[in-house]
């Protein structure tokens, strides 16, 4: 008997809930229908608009029928430090045929990011694939991989990958375990082994710079003791619609910066279609076999503008004191 009562009550509740749900859905549907009907009947302004459908057809509709759709979040419109610039995918192309180790990129990077460690973020390697092949200069910076090994191993999400392709570091969160440095095959990361000595360089920038708070999108401003630093692709320059320092200061136009969605890269003077440039000049990426999917492409050192010469190979010349001048 008790069981039966319980059953019937459950059934009643079940029915009630279902009915309520149907009413609610129906109500919403009716209001929707009503609003769309009224929109059609009331303001047929006669002002026509041409729109493209998702399958590429052009259609003409009355402008009154076009309603702006609100997105649940505004990541597609607003810059957010962890999400990046909306609808962008930054890439770099480094033309090895043009590099003659002028070191201007290293110097400008060091001074722009107040780099005080003895290890620059941007390095120019003296490379030689084998005994028989020619030497060439290879600048490297953070490869901003699409499958970043460093991000995978970070225990606290201090280093992260943004939608616009950048891999950045939150120096206020980093615990200094250096696992990311061990994981990075490109040796792109450096550590602040001691309190960074940036006061002189920052004081020159004025009082405001001295109190600048550490932020992931301006690496090294300031650096934080016991945390990891690396090339950040200069989001602070992108914000001002300028090119990263290494790109703009290179006298030989080695670096091309751009957007993969726009399919274009520029070194400030020349602009190329990215896909065509990579195809024509047989672009490649470093250590492709590791599956890291870097955002930095290299053009092979063929038809070089200059012969390979031994440049600055003594690190003293690259000391931070000398680097920034």
């Amino acid at each position: 008997m008790e069981n039966k009562q319980g059953d019937s009550r459950r059934k009643f509740l079940d029915k009630g809930l279902k009915l309520g749900l149907i009413t609610a859905i129906g109500g919403i549907g009716l209001t929707k229908l009503a609003t769309s009907l009224s929109a059609q009947s009331q303001n047929a302004s006669g002002d026509k608009m041409q729109l493209m459908t998702t399958d590429g057809k052009l259609i003409e509709v009355d402008s009154s029928e076009v309603i702006e759709v609100k997105h649940s979040n505004n990541n597609d419109e607003v810059y957010n430090v962890r999400e990046g610039f909306p609808n962008r995918k930054f890439v770099m192309v480094v033309d090895l045929a043009r590099c003659k180790n002028a070191q201007k990129c290293v110097k400008s990077c060091n001074s722009a990011h107040y780099i005080t460690t003895h290890n620059a973020w941007l390095k120019v390697y003296d490379m030689k694939e084998s005994a028989e092949t020619a030497s060439y200069w290879m600048p490297t910076l953070c490869q901003h991989c699409d499958h970043p090994a460093c991000v995978k191993v970070c225990p606290v999400d201090a280093t992260f990958k943004r939608r616009d392709g950048l891999v950045l570091i939150d120096n206020e969160r980093c615990i200094g375990c250096r696992f990311c440095m061990a994981a990075c095959p490109y040796s792109a990361r450096v550590f602040n082994w001691s309190e960074p000595d940036q006061i002189v360089a920052m004081a020159a920038m004025g009082e405001e710079a001295m109190h600048h708070e550490s932020t992931p999108d301006y690496a090294g401003f300031p650096s934080v003791k016991g945390t990891v630093d690396k090339c950040d692709f200069c989001p602070h320059m992108i914000k001002e619609e300028k090119l990263p320092h290494c790109v703009s200061t290179c006298p030989n136009g080695v670096y091309f910066f751009g957007d993969a969605y726009e399919d274009s890269v520029t070194n400030g003077e020349e602009t190329f279609q990215l896909s065509k440039l990579l195809k024509d000049k047989a672009g490649y990426r470093l250590m492709e076999s590791l599956g890291t999917e870097p955002s930095v492409y290299y053009l092979p050192p063929v038809d070089r503008m200059v012969d390979f010469e031994q440049g600055l190979d003594i690190y003293h010349e690259l000391n931070p004191e000398n680097k920034s001048h």
Partner: protein
């Protein structure tokens, strides 16, 4: 009755003598020196170490791996051997668990010493990400510590009850504490049943956790691309090496305690004989994994591996590498094959050689790989091409070793080194005791 009283008297914890006081003072001095060194490191940063952007991990990490390795012996002796009903290892279970607890605690502390921002340790708990092997390591190490603590505590319950009575009879205050710790253990069949069941459950549980602890520790290396670490062999290779290191540590500590506490009767020569045979087996397994780990990459000799292996076989690390392999792992096997080699004193010496070799073994797993990155090391100070720990690093490292020994010493001071209850049961002393009452 008399026999039982004698047993309790023999096995009850003993106060420190003069030697013990000197030993403790020595350990505390070393630890204080390490604390001072660590203070230097905290204020100046990790610049006081010889680690730099290439040799980004050093002696702290290898020391951490060493501690994790040694801690595995707890599970080997008190779980694997107990479950497989190896009666000879019963007197060793407590020592093995004490060594395990001391080293896993120190492993946890050592990894904090390596952090650039120890003040942000809490970030791991707040922002922890499941895909990072470090988070797995934190999880398994704390689980292992917890189960180990239970596994040492449960078998102590009857012993605490025995000690309570013993000290009460002797009119000592210590009895009160042991009474509280014994959780009203009276030894009823029901209590015994629950206890045995719990211990057995823990003993089974701790085996996979122990394997996980050291396997995850090996993954800190093998999840990277670097030559020398990029190996599918790393998990079992580390676990095999861990059993070698831990057994060597237990051999040494058993030998010392047997001398200082005059426990020859309870820790007979036969135990060393058995431990010697066990160590031979473990060393052989470890040598087998070493062959896989080094000779197969050397056979293929890819350009990345070549540079790394050259530095181990013929280069900067050759003397260390071959000494560790031959003196610490192959030589002990040869000595321990002979029964004379398995006598207590030779065993102690062999244990020492194996343990020191095991420490250096971890050092040459961590350091040389980092000095052979994919891109060449260029445009940096010459000293960055090398790594050797600074005085600060050595002081802190010795401090962690001294801390582990201090934990062991303190536990040995207050806990019965050889389980009293189990030994009495083994010798059928409990029954006679009850009858005479």
């Amino acid at each position: 009755m008399q026999k039982y009283d004698q047993l309790v008297k023999d096995l009850a914890p003993k106060k420190f003598g003069i030697k013990g006081t000197i030993w403790i003072t020595f350990l505390i001095i070393v630890i204080l020196a390490a604390l001072y060194a660590y203070y230097q490191q905290l204020t100046k940063g990790l610049i006081v170490t010889d680690m730099r952007d290439y040799a980004l991990w050093g002696v702290y990490i290898s020391n951490f791996v060493f501690f994790v390795a040694v801690s595995l012996v707890g599970s080997l002796i008190s779980a694997v051997l107990t479950i497989s009903k190896q009666k000879w290892s019963i007197p060793l279970t407590r020592i093995a668990e004490i060594v395990a607890i001391a080293s896993i605690v120190m492993a946890g502390l050592t990894i904090i010493i390596d952090m650039g921002r120890p003040d942000r340790l809490w970030h791991i708990f707040v922002y922890g990400r499941a895909q990072s092997p470090i988070v797995w390591d934190v999880l398994v190490i704390s689980t292992y510590l917890f189960i180990s603590a239970l596994l040492i505590y449960y078998p102590l319950l009857p012993d605490f009850a025995i000690l309570k009575k013993y000290y009460k009879d002797a009119g000592s205050k210590e009895g009160k504490w042991y009474g509280k710790l014994s959780l009203n253990w009276t030894g009823t069949p029901k209590q015994k049943h629950i206890l045995h069941k719990s211990i057995r459950t823990l003993a089974v549980l701790i085996i996979p956790v122990a394997f996980a602890v050291h396997t995850v520790t090996s993954w800190l290396f093998s999840t990277t691309y670097r030559p020398g670490w990029d190996s599918t062999n790393f998990g079992p290779y580390f676990v095999a090496g861990a059993f070698v290191a831990g057994t060597a540590a237990v051999i040494m500590i058993t030998y010392i305690l047997r001398k200082t506490h005059k426990l020859e009767e309870y820790l007979p020569d036969e135990i060393f004989d058995k431990l010697g045979k066990l160590l031979v087996l473990l060393c052989l397994i470890y040598i087998y994994f070493n062959i896989n780990e080094y000779l197969i990459p050397a056979y293929k000799n890819t350009s990345e591996e070549k540079e790394h292996l050259y530095s181990l076989f013929f280069g900067n690390y050759a003397i260390l590498f071959w000494s560790v392999i031959f003196i610490s792992f192959i030589f002990p096997v040869i000595v321990l094959i002979f029964p004379k080699g398995r006598k207590p004193l030779p065993m102690f010496i062999i244990g020492f050689i194996v343990l020191v070799g095991s420490w250096w073994k971890r050092y040459i797993i961590v350091t040389p790989t980092l000095l052979h990155p994919f891109l060449p090391i260029q445009d940096v100070d010459k000293s960055w091409h090398q790594y050797f720990p600074t005085i600060v690093e050595w002081t802190i490292t010795f401090g962690t070793l001294a801390s582990a020994l201090l934990i062991i010493t303190i536990l040995v001071r207050y806990l019965p080194i050889v389980p009293i209850q189990e030994t009495a049961e083994e010798n059928n002393l409990i029954e006679t005791d009850k009858k005479s009452e």
